[in-house]
Subunit: 319 residues, 4 copies
C-alpha cells in the first residue's frame, strides 16, 4: 500500500521472532503482524534495529521482509530498513527490498567509517536516486555515532531526497527545531515541505512529539502494546492532551521492562529486545523469546520482571 | 524568600553582565533582575552555567550573588550555583552562598575527576549535610560528562538530600521515567517524595516537560523573554496545551539565536551566551554584550542576526 | 601459506584500487600486491578498513580476496577481514573467505549494536568454532566504538580462540599492559600463550611497539612504502633502535599525507584513504586514485600535497 | 631553581598526603618530597591531577605548594598546577603560585565550558602574559574532554607562550607527530623551537616516548618508585634501549596497582590514587593512605593487592 504523504500514525518496528536455533520463526512473525494490525497501527517498519536487523544474514533479511509484505497484503504500508555501513552495501539491500515489495526504505547515515555530513548527504541522495522508493532517514546516533542535523534533514527534504525522518536520537530539542523550521504544528501545510513526515522513535515522549507537531511514532514497545500507542495517537489527534499523557505514562511504566536484564551481565540491546520478545511470548503472540546470537538470553527472574510489568500495565500474560 | 516545596514555575538562570574589562556590571545586573521580575518569574538561579559561573573568580561570584539577593529583596527565592570540581571546593562556595543569603543551592556531580555514582551520591549528601540550605542537583552532562540516573536522583530525593533536580541533560526520555517514578502527572502528591521539584533546563521542550508533570523550567533564553516563558507556563498550568505549544514554538524560533556565532570561529558557549547578552543589550536591559574571556565576541553580523530573531519573535530592540 | 605462530613482521592492509565507476581494478590490485611483496612484507591483510571493506559489496569483497590470494600464490600468508555488524553476518563472510583460500580471519567486536564484553567474547568464540581458520581480533574503537580490554584478549588467547590481535586502538598503554601480561619482551616464549601474535595497527609508533615486544605491524601507510616499514622492522629485530626510530620518523613525516583533504570538506576516511591511493597512483603502482562512494575525492591541490610528502620522504612520483 | 630549557628528566606529580579528616599532612608531604629527591628526580610537579588538585580547596592548594617549595629549597625546579575551569579563575591560581615561589605553571585547556581551539589558544596566551613564569600546557582529555592538537601546541610554542607540554592524552601517535614537527629526535636543536620541552604523562610508554625524542616524563607512579623512573630515563639517555624497556616492563607490572579498587565499587581516580597512597604508606613514606572526599577508600584486600604488586616489583613494604 503506497504511503500517504506525509506518513502519519503508529508504525512499529516489527520484532523478528527466532527459534532456539536462531532461525526465523515465520509462523510467529505472521502472528505478530496480525497482532499489530489488530492493534490499529498505520504502517509497519520491518528490518529496523528492533528487528535485530544487525544480527540477520542477508538471506534472513529477505525471509523477514517477504513474510511481512505477504501477511500485510496491502493493508498498511511496509517500510523496510536497509541497514549497512555505506552506500554500495545499502544499495544492495535497497534493491532486494524493492524486489520484495517494500513501500519505502529506511536508511541510516554511514557507520564504521568516519564520514563528513556532505558525504552523508550524498549517501542519501544516491540511495534515493538509484532505487525508486520513498526514502526515510533513520537518525540513530547510539548505533551510527553521528547525528543528522536539522539543517541536513531540511536540505534533503527540500530537494525531494527524503520522504521523512525517523528520529531516534533522543534529542527532543533538535526535533523541535526541525519541526519549527518545517512550519510548526499549525503551519506545516504552508511550510517548505508539506509532504515530509517526521516520526519519533522514542517510546517515552510520543505525547510531547505529537504536541510539537510530529506526524507519528515508530515505537519498539509498540510490538508489545500496539493498541496503547494507537490510543495515545488518537487522543493526541483529538487534542485531548491529558488523555494522551496518561496513556504515555502507562506506556513509560511498561517500557521499564527494557532494564530487565542486569547491566553487568548483558548488553542493552539484549536486555531491551529480550524483554520485548519475552513479553510477546508471555502474551501468546510468538512462540519463542530467543534473541539472535551473541545476545545473552534473559534469565527466568528477568522474564518474571517482564511479566510483572505487563500485568501492572493492564496486559494479561497467557502463559 | 523561602522556597515552596516543590519549587514550581519559571526560574531563569540569570546572565552576568560584564563590561569591556570583564568586570561585573552590577548596574546592568540589577536592571536584568528587575526585567526578570517584571516578566513574572517565580525564582532566580544565580551563578549557573548561563551566568558564566565557570568564568567568574570567587570574588566575582560573591559580587553577583550579593547583587541578585539585594535587588530581589525577598520577592522570589534565589537559588545559587555552587559549581566546582569536587565536594571540598563546592563546600567553600556553598558556605559563601549561605552567608550571602541564597535560599537554595544548585550543585553538579563532580567533574574533571573520574567519579563513580556512589561517590556522586556521597558528594550530594555531604553538601546537604554541611550547609543547611535546600539542595538541587544540576544534571548537565555536556559540562560534567556524566549523567545523573533517575535511580540515583530518586534515592537522593527519598532520603531528603535533594529538594529537586534541574535536568539540563537533554534526555527527555530519562526525565519522563523520573517523573513516572515520582508518581506521574496526577500522582505526585501521593508519590514517594511529594515535595521534590523537577525542573527542566531545556528551552525547547518546556511544554512537553510540563505536560509530563515537571514543576518548572530554568531557561537560559528566559533572560531575553521571561514573559514568554511565564505565558507558556501559565497556559500549561491552565491545561491549554495548544497555547502552550504555540508559545513554545515562538520561543524555539527565538532560541535559534544561539547559533549566531559560526561554529568554525567560536565555541558554542560563546555563541549562545553572546547571543543572549547581545539580545539583552539590544532590548535596553543591559549596557554591554561582552562575554567573559576567553570567549570570542559576536561579530556585528552575528549581532544583526540576533536582532532579526528578536523582531521575528515580536520583541523590539531599542538600540 | 600457513601462518607462523606467532605471526611476525610487516603485514600491510592492502588498499583496494577502484576505477572511476567504483568497480574493482583487479589489474591495479595485482600490481599493488607485487609492489608489497617486492617491498619484503611478511603477510597481507585483505579486506581491512584500509581496503575500504565497509564500502565494498559482498561480490566486490569476493573479487578482492580472490585476486589477492591468486596473485600471492602462497608466497606469504593472506589474512582476510570479515567485517560486519554481528556474528551471523560475520560468519557468512568467514565462510566465503575460507572458500577463497584465506589463511586467517580478522574480525572486530560487534558494532551498531550495544554489546557487552561477555557477548563480544561469545562472538569471537563462535566465529573460531564455526570456521576452521586462525582468527585475529581487530581492536578498532574508532569504527566499532568499543575497546577490547587486555583481560578479554588474554582470555580469548588462552583458550585458543584467538591467534592474535591487531591493535588499532591507539592506546599504547593498554598494548603495553597486554604485552607485559603475555610475558614481556624477553618472556613471551615462557609466557602463558607463546604462539599468540600481537600486531600494532598504528603507523606512527611501530618502533615503540616492537621495543615493547610486539610481533609486527599492520600499517596502512605500508601500501605506499612497504620497504620503509620492512627496514624499520629489520632494524628493530637487530636491536638497532636508533635506526628503527629514524626510519619511523621518516615514515611519520610521510604519514602526514592523511591530512591532505581539509577537515571541513570531507571525512577523515576520505582524506587518509584518498591520500594513500593518490600516492600509489603517483608512484605508478595503481591506475586510479578513486575512493569508494560516498567518499569525497581529493582536490588537485590535495594531491599536490601528497606528491610533496612523497618527495620529502625520498619516494619518487613517476607521474 | 629555574628550569632548564628544555626541561628534561623525571618530574613526578607529587601526591598530596591527607589525614583521616581530609587535612593536608604536611609532615608526610615533606617526607614524600625527600623520597622523590632521594630517587634522583629532576623536578617536581605539585598540584597536578595526581595531587588530587581537583579535591583541594584554595587554602589547601596554597599549603601544599608552600610545603613543597620550602622542602625542595631550590634543589630542583617546582612546577605548579593551576587547574580551574577558565582563564580568570586560572589566573587567580597562577598569581598565588607565583607568590609562593613556583618555578613554572601548568595549565589545562578550559573545561566545563564548550570551548573552541582559538579560545583555548587565547587562554594560554593570557595566562602567560599576565603571570611571568614559564607555562606548560597540560593535555588531559580524560579530564577536560578536549585534546590539544599538535598544530595548536606548535603555534603556542613558536610564539613563546608555552615552555612545554605535558602530554597525558594517551595518544602516542599524536605525540610522535608533534616531536617530528619539532625536528625529530636528532633535529630538535636545529628545529623551530629548541627550548620547548615535551614531557609524557603516561607511566607505561616512557621508553617509547624517550626513543621518539621526548624530553622527560611526569609519572604518577613515580611517587611510588622514583628511582625506577630515573633508571629508565638514564638507560634511555645512554641509548641502552633494552635496559630502558626492561625497566619499563617492571614499572608497567607495578602500575597494575591502579586497578586495585573494583570498577563497580569506586571511580578510577579513587582506585589509582588510593593505590599510590597505599603503596607510599606501606613503604613508610607517608602516614595515611586516605584520599580526598568523595573518593571511596580502598578495602583491606585492595591494599593487600597493592602490597603484592610492590613485592613483585622488588619494593619492600615496611608495614
Amino acid at each position: 500500500m503506497p504511503l500517504t504523504a506525509p506518513l502519519r500514525g503508529v508504525v512499529p518496528p516489527v520484532c523478528t521472532p527466532l527459534d532456539a536455533q536462531g532461525d526465523i520463526d515465520t509462523g510467529s512473525l505472521a502472528r505478530l503482524v496480525e497482532h499489530l494490525l489488530d492493534g490499529g497501527v498505520h504502517g509497519l517498519f520491518a528490518l529496523g534495529s528492533t528487528s535485530e536487523v544487525a544480527y540477520l544474514t542477508d538471506e534472513q533479511r529477505g525471509a523477514v521482509l517477504e513474510t511481512v509484505v505477504n501477511v500485510v497484503d496491502g493493508r498498511v504500508p511496509v517500510l523496510a530498513g536497509v541497514i549497512d555501513t555505506t552506500t554500495p552495501r545499502v544499495l544492495d539491500h535497497a534493491r532486494a527490498a524493492a524486489r520484495l515489495g517494500a513501500d519505502a526504505l529506511v536508511a541510516t547515515a554511514p557507520f564504521y567509517t568516519r564520514t563528513h555530513p556532505r558525504e552523508t548527504a550524498a549517501h542519501f541522495r544516491r540511495v534515493r536516486d538509484r532505487v525508486d522508493l520513498p526514502l526515510f532517514a533513520y537518525d540513530l546516533p547510539v548505533s551510527v555515532h553521528s547525528k543528522l542535523s536539522p539543517a541536513l534533514v531540511l536540505d534533503l527534504a527540500a530537494d525531494g531526497t527524503l520522504a521523512g525522518v525517523k528520529d531516534s536520537s533522543g534529542d527532543e530539542g533538535s526535533l523541535r527545531r526541525l519541526l519549527v523550521a518545517l512550519g510548526g504544528r499549525e503551519g506545516r501545510a504552508a511550510g517548505p515541505v508539506p509532504a515530509f513526515s517526521v516520526l519519533t522513535g522514542s517510546e517515552l515522549t510520543v505525547d510531547a512529539a505529537l504536541l510539537a507537531g510530529a506526524d507519528g511514532v515508530v515505537p519498539g514497545l509498540g510490538n508489545v502494546d500496539p493498541a496503547g500507542y494507537v490510543r495515545l495517537h488518537d487522543a493526541a489527534r483529538a487534542g485531548d492532551w491529558s488523555r494522551a499523557a496518561a496513556e504515555q505514562e502507562r506506556l513509560a511504566a511498561l517500557f521499564a521492562m527494557v532494564d530487565a536484564g542486569p547491566e553487568d551481565e548483558m548488553g542493552r540491546s539484549s536486555s531491551a529486545l529480550g524483554a520485548f520478545k519475552a513479553a510477546l511470548r508471555l502474551l501468546g503472540v510468538i512462540d519463542h523469546g530467543d534473541t539472535a546470537f551473541p545476545q545473552i538470553p534473559l534469565s527466568a527472574s528477568s522474564v518474571a520482571a517482564v511479566d510483572a510489568r505487563l500485568r501492572a500495565a493492564g496486559l494479561t500474560p497467557v502463559r
